[in-house]
């Protein structure tokens, strides 16, 4: 059992949260920082992965400005996606050697973890061949994308809990035209609240990867990084 931390950043700008994650990855790679699972919700943003082009944004910049949606290039795999309030983003910063998986196996294990979590809520979530992520009834409910630096995996997945899915209509999500997207609150009459999902999710990470996570604040983590 590996001891680690759960860092809940709450509602935060993507770039701010990314900088936090980047420091944690640096700490994991260079300085032996324990594993950290970073949780966050983002202000409205389209993120463009390494496999992507801006051609998959269908709306003009003026529309994005009016809707308050920013655009950020990021260093994960995958194409373009949307993040916004009501979507839980989890970024486990884990050393692949410690969990005994290669990058590809780890990415698929994140999909399995999400499917188990959603099945527990009575949602028949599943994988879809050739289309990474987690799906319900032909609609995507969670996106998965990771990066690996010197054996440390980061980024992770985004799970639509109470997300306004309308902005997805302004892009070709993950490079796929007219890909249907769904949020948990559209499936369940009484969806679990955000905090319950965070708890369940971290418990699933603990079981699957044999970690024990305790809460840490951003300032506590920064003090640990500095020491």
């Amino acid at each position: 059992m590996t001891e680690g931390f759960r860092l809940d950043l709450g509602l935060i700008g993507y770039e701010d949260a990314f900088a936090v994650q980047d420091r944690i990855v640096f700490g994991r790679v260079r300085r032996g920082l324990p594993p950290v699972v970073v949780l966050q919700e983002n202000h409205p943003v389209f993120t463009i992965g390494r496999g992507a082009t801006r051609e998959n944004i269908l709306a003009p910049p003026e529309t994005l400005q009016r809707l308050g949606i920013s655009v950020v290039k990021v260093n994960r795999g995958g194409d373009i996606t949307y993040h916004g309030p009501g979507q839980l983003i989890a970024s486990p910063v884990l050393r692949l050697e410690e969990i005994g998986l290669n990058a590809n196996e780890y990415m698929h294990s994140l999909e399995d973890l999400l499917i188990e979590l959603l099945n527990g809520y009575g949602v028949a979530a599943e994988k879809k061949e050739l289309y990474p992520g987690v799906w319900w009834n032909g609609r995507k409910i969670a996106a998965v994308g990771i990066a690996v630096r010197r054996g440390v995996a980061f980024h992770g997945f985004s799970l639509n809990l109470k997300l306004d899915c309308a902005p997805f209509e302004l892009i070709n999500p993950c490079g796929v035209p007219q890909m249907p997207v769904v949020s948990l609150h559209q499936i369940l009459d009484n969806p679990p609240d955000f905090e319950s999902v965070k708890r369940d999710l971290c418990a699933a990470v603990e079981r699957r990867y044999r970690h024990r996570l305790r809460d840490i604040t951003r300032s506590e983590l920064e003090r640990m990084e500095a020491s």
Binding site: G77, N104, V148, R150
Partner: protein, 79 residues
Amino acid sequence: MKYEARVPETADGAQEVTIKRWLYQPGDRVAEGADMVEAVTEKITLYIPAPADGILSEIMVPEGTAVHVGTVVGIVEGA
């Protein structure tokens, strides 16, 4: 002495990765462990580190090329 930079084994051995971006050019000085190349699969970005302190002397695999795990992508000449 020549040091080889290879696609790391953290990727699935049966899977190809595409060399997306070289972060250094031949003649540049690199530090051991620094991100030297980005390789991507559909959903995974892999950073290939410099194998030693030295000069990146040769890029064996250009950007946009698909390669397998273990492939030598570049050479660093160190002390």
